[in-house]
Symmetry: none
DNA sequence: GTGGTCTAGACCACC
DNA sequence: GTGGTCTAGACCACG
C-alpha cells in the first residue's frame, strides 16, 4: 500500500493511517467498493501493531468512510469520496488558519508572512520533486 | 498581562505561555530589563495551575530569555530580543511548513494551496483589523 | 425462496437464515415433509457463502427442524411445527425483553415505554399493510 | 459509581459503559461540568482493563458528551444533556422497532405481540421493583 | 482468512 | 494525579 508513516511525527500513528486513507479516497485512489488492506496485512506492512491499524479503521468506519463486509474485510462506502474531499479541505484550511493566526498574533507583518509561506512552499515542492515522487 | 490561553488548543498551556512571552519580547512589547509577572500572579490571572506557569518560566530561563533578579522577580535578559526574533521566525516557519506539507501530501496542487493560504490570510486580517487587534 | 437477508444487521447471516426458516415452519408456510432448497441453490439465490447456508442448515438439523432425506435433500420434520411455534415465541420474547429492559434501565417510565411501543407498532403495521406484505 | 456491567451480555463492555454514562447524563444524574470518574478509578471499580474504560470515554468524547480537562480528567460538556436525551429516545425506538418488526415478520398477530410486550414489561417491572432498585 | 473485543503492561506529556 | 498512545498476545464469531 501507499502509506507513509512517521512514528515520531507528533501526530498519532492511527491518525496518520486514517488520514492518508481518507486522502486516498478523496483523491480517487480508493474508489467506492474497493477493499482496503486487512488489519493484519497493513500492520505487517507498516510494522505496526494490528491494534493501531484497527483503531484507524474504527475511526474510518465511524466517519462513514468504510464499512465492514463480513468475512471479506472493509470496503470504501458509497458516498465517501465527496465526504472526504469536503473534510480534507476543511481540515487543511483549519490547520493553515491556525498557523497563520499565530504568525499574525506574534506580530509578523502580512508581507513577512507571505514571504515565509512562499519560501516554505518552494522548499517543500523542491524536496518533493526530487525524492518523494511516489 | 496580554496573554490568551486556550487550554483545549492541542498546544500545551505552558508552551502557549512561554511562546507568547517570547513573541512579546521579539515584538518589543517587553524590553530588556522589564519584569515579567510573578508566577502566582500570572497563574491567578490566567486561572491556571502555578506549576504550569512555573514550567513556562523555567523554559524561558533555560533559553536565556529571562533571568532571576534576586528580590525583584524575573526580568527580560539583555540580548533576548534578537534571540526571540530569530526563534519566532523558526517556530512559525515550522508550523507553516507542517501545514503546507500536509496539504501537499493530501494531493492538493500548489495553486490550490496558494489560494487556500491567501483566502485564510485575508479573512484573518480582516477580522483582526476590526476587533481583535490586541 | 422467501428469505430476506441483511448482512449488516448485527445478527449473523446464518442465524437470519435459520430463524426465518423456523418462522416459516411455525407459520405453516413450510409443512412437514416439504423439501427446503439445497445449500448451493439458496446460497446462490441469497448471494451468500455456501458455508453460511450450510451452517444454518446444520443448526436446523441439530434442533430437529429438518432432516436429511437421502437422495432428495433436506425436509421439514414431522412435529417441527409445534417446536418452531414454541421457539418462535421464546425467541421473540427474548428480543422484546432485552429492548424493554434497556428502556427501563435508561430511566424511562413505564408509560413512556408503552407509548413508544404503541407508536412503533402502529408505524410498522401501517407500512406492512401498504407494500411490505410479502 | 452507579454502573452495572455484565461482561457476558453480548453487548461490548465499553459500549455498556458509554451507554450508561449517556443515560446518566440524559437523566440529569450527571450534569454539565461534572467530572466523570477517572479511567483508572472506574477500571478498578468495575474490575475491567483501563483500556476498555478508555475506549468508552473515547466514544463519549467523540460524540461530544464529555471533553478532557487537561490535568483534571473528563467533564460532561455543556449541551450534552439534550443530545443524550434525543439519542436515548432514538436508540430505544430503534431497538423496539427492530424487535417488533421481527415479530411481525415472524407471522405473529398484532394482539399476540401486544400481549407478549405487556407480559415481558410486567415481569421486568416486578423484578426491578424487588431487588434491582438501585 | 476476516474484524471485534479484551487484557496486561508500558511510556509519554501535562497539570 | 490525569488522559493518550502503543505494543503484545489472546479469544471470539463469522465466512
Amino acid at each position: 500500500m501507499f502509506l507513509q508513516i512517521d512514528p515520531a511525527n507528533g501526530v498519532a500513528v492511527y491518525d496518520q493511517i486514517a488520514r492518508q486513507i481518507k486522502y486516498a479516497v478523496a483523491d480517487g485512489a480508493l474508489a467506492a467498493g474497493d477493499l482496503i488492506p486487512s488489519v493484519r496485512e497493513l500492520a505487517r506492512e507498516l510494522t505496526v501493531n494490528p491494534n493501531t491499524v484497527s483503531r484507524a479503521y474504527l475511526e474510518l468506519k465511524r466517519e462513514g468512510v468504510v464499512e465492514t463486509v463480513p468475512g471479506a474485510g472493509m470496503a470504501v462506502c458509497a458516498g465517501a469520496k465527496r465526504h472526504c474531499q469536503t473534510q480534507r479541505r476543511a481540515l487543511l484550511a483549519d490547520r493553515l488558519r491556525a498557523a497563520l493566526a499565530e504568525a499574525i498574533q506574534a506580530g509578523l507583518q502580512p508581507d513577512q508572512i507571505e514571504s515565509l509561506v512562499a519560501e516554505q512552499l518552494k522548499t517543500l515542492l523542491r524536496h518533493q520533486g526530487k525524492g518523494d515522487a511516489r
